[in-house]
């Protein structure tokens, strides 16, 4: 059986994580030209107002505020715990779920509305063909 080709560079963990040539990775949203709502990733029609043909790609901010979190202590086998599942409102629009890292995973250490930064790091997981992936994480901004 021929071996699968391993990509030379890390692949994006989700389609809306963009890795341009010679520039920093970023998250891509789509903004509705009719109502102004911002969505993660590409879409044809606005889910908020139903407008058609109004969605345009936009680069999402890499800063935001922590809207919500939980500290996860039990997960599927092989997933390291504890970790912080965080929901972040990005500055300028868009909401994203991800892991909050570089902070003690305890409820006392984490504050609602704390400023966070979006960082891009190796996912630490490979697919069955050996490809590496670039993922996004949140870190405390100060």
């Amino acid at each position: 059986m021929p071996e699968a080709e391993v990509a030379a560079k890390p692949l994006p963990v989700v389609p809306y994580l963009k890795i341009p040539e010679g520039a920093d990775p970023y998250l891509e949203g789509y903004k509705c030209g009719a109502c102004g709502e911002v969505f993660l990733g590409e879409r044809l029609v606005c889910a908020a107002c139903g407008a058609r043909g109004k969605m345009a790609a936009t680069k999402l901010a890499d800063t935001g505020k922590l809207y919500n979190f939980t500290v996860v202590h039990r997960n599927f086998p092989g997933v390291p715990v504890p970790f912080i599942s965080a929901i972040v409102d990005l500055d300028g629009g868009g909401t994203l779920k991800g892991n909050l890292v570089d902070i003690v995973p305890s409820v006392e250490a984490i504050k609602f509305d704390m400023p966070v930064k979006v960082v891009f790091r190796d996912a630490g997981r490979k697919d069955k063909d050996g490809n590496s992936y670039l993922a996004y994480f949140f870190t405390p901004a100060n």
Binding site: V13, A135, Y136
Partner: protein, 381 residues
């Protein structure tokens, strides 16, 4: 349009039946509901069957293969945790529309053990624990933490929901568990996703429930009005757009929309409701649904549990059955099992857990994705 009544309803004792088939488990409740009504499968004009795990495997037809293949139309439905309620509602609407006079609704589920949810999206590697958590305990931890963020609701207040519902289940012989769980035990149990400990997560069980629905004319013709319960409202919604919904499922907006429609249809308000079976898939969910269903003002959910308002003996008892937390949560059966519970109280047949003088009861389920179904039931006699 005709009024619609529940004339027969029952559920099996929830448990784990790995050696039985899904249709076999569903057939048992179907026969129990027919017996409760004093009717036979030959009296049924259609079957609405709710099941999630084998959606696509013609569970309704296979139920009929176990209880009588009369050739009636079968509609199989799947709608996440609102599956059973959706089957019931489809039957309700067919009678409302005047198409049938007598139909059977069955909800059935056979569950494995362990965590649900947390699927990996479309990429080449699993994203659970990498891009946050999508397990059900985590999703509903986020629901609770949003309430904490907005109103300061505490871990202890959420835990009290589980203490209450486990206590209720000690009075319900059909619940999976009949075990008291004191507050220290609930809070000290293994933490799954803060603030949900293991005892604050619903139980994955196998189960089934079924109901016979009938038009007013037929109820009178058959002389079944004495134990009939009127379906005063049947409301269903999908999730309206809210800004964080696609990242953090919003079970509040979808429930509020359904509650508004249900109260309007019933011509009454939350103050008229004597008992509620709501979707306590996790302890955190129950608190937010107090507010979503209008049982209290926004931000007062924590106070309601603190003051015992929703305990048996309180002003509006919630989940007297033990709820999903202790009765168990067989996904497709849940939305008919809660109709069994309310009907039993309205008939005055709930024994040790009877809510005295109950005339109006409300059932609520919400399935992630999302679908919310609310039924308001009324004592006739």
């Amino acid at each position: 349009m005709t009024e619609v009544y529940v004339v027969g309803v029952d559920m099996i004792k929830f448990g784990r039946f790995p050696d039985r088939s899904v249709p076999n488990i569903g057939a048992e409740a179907a026969l129990m509901a027919l017996d409760d009504a004093g009717l036979t499968i030959q009296d049924m004009q259609a079957l609405y069957c709710g099941n999630l795990g084998q959606a696509g495997a013609m569970v309704g037809q296979r139920v009929l293969q176990e209880i009588g293949q009369t050739g009636i139309p079968v509609v199989n439905v799947a709608n996440a945790c609102a599956t059973g309620a959706t089957a019931f509602r489809e039957g309700f609407m067919a009678i409302k529309a005047g198409v049938y006079d007598t139909v059977l609704a069955v909800g059935v589920e056979q569950m494995g053990k362990g965590l649900l949810g947390g699927g990996g999206g479309g990429s080449g590697i699993p994203t659970e624990g990498l891009l946050g958590s999508g397990t059900m305990p985590s999703v509903f931890a986020h629901v609770g933490m949003e309430h904490t963020r907005n109103y300061g609701t505490t871990f202890e207040q959420f835990a009290k929901v589980s203490v209450k519902n486990h206590h209720h289940s000690t009075l319900n012989p059909k619940a999976m568990y009949q075990i008291e769980t004191p507050l220290q035990e609930v809070m000290g149990a293994e933490m799954i996703s803060y603030p949900n400990t293991k005892l604050m997560c619903s139980v994955n069980v196998d189960g089934s429930a079924a109901a016979v629905l009938m038009s007013e004319k037929k109820v009178r013709e058959k002389g079944l009005m004495s134990r009939a319960v009127r379906v005063r409202a049947s409301a269903m919604t999908s999730d309206p757009y809210t800004p964080r919904n696609m990242v953090m499922p919003d079970f509040n907006a979808v429930t509020r929309l359904a509650a508004k429609a249900a109260y309007e249809q019933a011509g009454l308000g939350p103050e008229d409701v004597n008992l509620v079976e709501l979707h306590d898939c996790f302890a955190t969910a129950e608190i937010v649904h107090y507010e979503n269903l209008g049982l209290c003002a926004d931000g007062e959910g924590g106070r309601l549990i603190d003051e015992g308002v929703t305990a048996l003996g309180g002003k509006v008892p919630v989940n007297v059955s033990g709820g999903l937390l202790s009765k168990g949560h067989p996904l497709g059966a849940t939305g008919i099992a809660n109709i069994y519970e309310i009907t039993t109280h309205l008939r005055g047949e709930a024994g040790a857990r009877q809510v005295e003088g109950a005339r109006i009861g409300l059932t609520h389920v919400v399935g992630m994705g999302s679908a919310c179904a609310i039924h308001v039931l009324e004592k006739v006699n």
